[in-house]
Structures are given as structure tokens and as C-alpha cells.
Symmetry: C3
Subunit: 160 residues, 3 copies
């Protein structure tokens, strides 16, 4: 078991299985696209332990509180780590997190997007540490997200 | 004629001319920015055969049906291929599609953004095949897009 | 003083100090992430001369006119240059602007996002010139932005 997976285990974090695509939907793209040492991560949402979309669905500031949005961002981090493990074999290959684009399904009047996406950033920093885990970030409010997921995050990382 | 252009011709696909910028608007940036083997594609919308903005304009889920949104995403793919051909000379130089960021002008309550942006992804896969054409992707709902275009897509590709 | 800073001075442009984070907010990420010759710029908003968020806050097309949005985008460019100077030491290290993602806090019915984000692009072109300063760009409307800032911009540049 690699060092990052040991760290996940020590923190009690379990990666979900790959996303169960909702029926009737075709997603003709990979969750992770590797090119040389560059790794592009498709937009992911939060997953439950069985790989289905995590509940609750909806907009942060309406169907979800800010705290529930934070938890959704944390689950999104685990979903992305799951996809990265599947694509890379070994999470220790990640040399640096580079860019994180955090999208929040925004109810009118809600604007605390950074506090929501912190659920993602803080988990990445806990697991990878401040050198590898640091990332440029935006955290912004969207008019809508697929399947009414509350959070969607895309990213780029560099590998060895 | 290169292999990709032969493929476009075989599929009966015709690239539009460069976008006719709506009057009174200044767009002080290139449609494609090349740096080494990296190629950044500015946000494009769907174009008609004469390079004007394709109709209908508006939000998907209101002025446009999902099927019309899909068609707009398909036209956006052709607009991007046109810009890439102009910038690169030859579409065969594209070694890999990397990242696709698909933005849908979203009517309240519409959330089938992936099914809209599939109009882009499926065309790219038809033309470039599954190895070169694969791409990381997000497909999300925006509060608004320039000129009320229904779809806007930005991307990055790698060239030889 | 480097050439870019001389140019800023000749244009009468002054970079703001680093952003004063609003109280009660944790932003666990750097404003700039450097990896090799790639530089990722986190989403920035407009800053006042003291590093606080520039006023007015709100949506362009409602609380702000288009002209005020343009000015906010211009201030966002200065905020980004300030972060880049702090991270790079010397702005002359910038070899090329690559990608600019311009997000406008959009009031319903407003769609002139390119004319707003031109405040950013035109300043970058004035300061860096057309070769280094050229960039791929999207300019789009968001449902919300942190702290109700009117404009947020993220970017990537290449350094020597």
C-alpha cells in the first residue's frame, strides 16, 4: 500500500467505487485524461459509499446548508481520488496538485462558495500535505449542475 | 488534404468560416493561443454556415430544447475545428484532446447539461477517434453567455 | 526595476497589496501555484488601493453598470499582477499569457460579458504587448461569486 493510501487509511477515509451513471445518461469521456505528466480530472460530484450520487441533491443555500455543501465537497474529493487511483494505479505518483475549479450549485443570495469548496481543499491538504497538496483555486456559483448535484469540481495534477 | 479533413468530408461535415463578430463588440483575444505543443482554445459558440451566430439564441430548457442544445454543441465543435485549422494549418497536428469545459446557458430547472455537451464530445470522437479524441470534461449550467448563445465551450489540445 | 514595472509606472498603474481576506473566511490555497514553467493563477477579484475588496459589490447589470464592471475587471488585472509579482519576484519572467477565464456576476438579462472582461484583457495587452500578452479567453455569466464580487478571473501564464 502506497504512502497516500496509508494516509487515507490512518484518517479513516474510504474511496468510493466508480460513479454509477444515472440511467438514460451517456457520458462519453473518461474521468481522468493523462497526457505525459499532465493529468486532467473531469468534473466530479459527491458520491455515496456505493458509487451512487450522494444525497442530498440540490442547491447550496436552499436544499443544502453551507455545512452540507462542505461535506459534499469533501465527498467530491474522495470521488476524484478514487478516479485518480484507478487511472494512475498508485496515488503516490501525484507530484503536485495544480489547479482546482470548484463549482457550487448556487441558490439565489448564497455566496459563501469558498467555505463550501474548503471541504475539498482541506481534505487534499490533509492527505497530500502542504507542498504536494497546494493548488490554485477558484470557487464560484453556478446556475445549475448535472443531476442537481450540489458541487462539481474539476482539476489538474502533475505526476512523476 | 489531411486525414482529419478527409474524415470530416466523409462524414459530410463542413467547417464554418471565422466568426463574424456582432457589431459594436471588440474581442481583443485570439480564438486559439499556441505555446509550444500546448494549444488553448478560447470559448466558442455555435456558428451558422456563413460565420454568423447560429440560431436559435437563448437558454436551453426555455428558448431551446435539449435536442437543439445538442445541435448547438455540435456546431460549436465545428466552429472550434475551424479555428484550430486556421491556427494550426493542419488538423492532423492534433496529438490529443485534453480538456473540454462545456458551458450551457441554463434555464431554471434544466439540468441535463451532459446530454447537451455530448453534441460536442460525440463529434470530436467521430472525427478524431477514441485515442486522440478522448478528453476530460465538465458540462455545467451558466447564468448567462455572451450574445445569449446557448452553448460555449473552451478546450485545450496538445499538438505534435 | 524590471521592464514590466517600468511600463506599469509609465501608465500610472499601481499594484494593490495582497488581498485582505474578509473576517471569518479561511482561504486554504495560494494565489499563485508555480510548477516548472507553468503558473496557475487562482480566481481573483478587484481590490481597492488598501487590498480590501473594491466597491461596489454586486451583479453587473444590477448593482453595477457595464462600465463599472469593466473597471472591476481592470482592477482584477492589477490584483493578479500584484500576486504574480509577489510569487515570481519579477514580472519580466512572464513569457506568455496563455488562458484567461473571465467570470462576471450576472444580473438576469445582462449578457455583455466580453465587454466587461475587456477591462482585464486590454490592461494585460497594454502592459505586456500583443505577443506576450495575447491569451485564449472565455467571458461568461455566473450565478454568484464569493463576497458578491462583480468579477472573478483565473488564468494561466508561462514563465522563463
Amino acid at each position: 500500500m502506497g504512502q497516500i493510501e496509508q494516509r487515507l487509511a490512518a484518517l479513516g477515509l474510504v474511496l468510493p467505487p466508480p460513479m454509477q451513471t444515472p440511467s438514460g445518461v451517456v457520458l462519453p469521456f473518461p474521468w481522468v485524461r493523462i497526457h505525459g505528466n499532465r493529468v486532467f480530472v473531469s468534473g466530479h460530484g459527491p458520491l455515496a459509499a456505493d458509487g451512487s450520487l450522494a444525497k442530498p441533491l440540490g442547491k447550496v443555500g436552499a436544499e443544502l446548508t453551507q455545512a452540507q455543501g462542505y461535506e459534499a465537497a469533501r465527498l467530491t474529493a474522495l470521488a476524484i481520488l478514487s478516479s485518480l487511483k484507478q487511472a494512475l494505479g498508485e496515488l503516490d505518483r501525484i507530484e503536485a496538485w495544480l489547479r482546482v475549479f470548484g463549482m457550487v450549485n448556487a441558490a439565489p443570495g448564497f455566496n459563501r462558495f469558498p467555505s463550501v469548496i474548503n471541504g475539498f481543499s482541506e481534505l487534499v491538504l490533509e492527505v497530500f500535505g502542504p507542498v504536494v497538496g497546494a493548488h490554485a483555486r477558484s470557487a464560484v456559483g453556478m446556475a445549475g449542475l448535472p443531476f442537481d448535484i450540489p458541487v462539481e469540481i474539476e482539476a489538474e495534477v502533475a505526476i512523476r
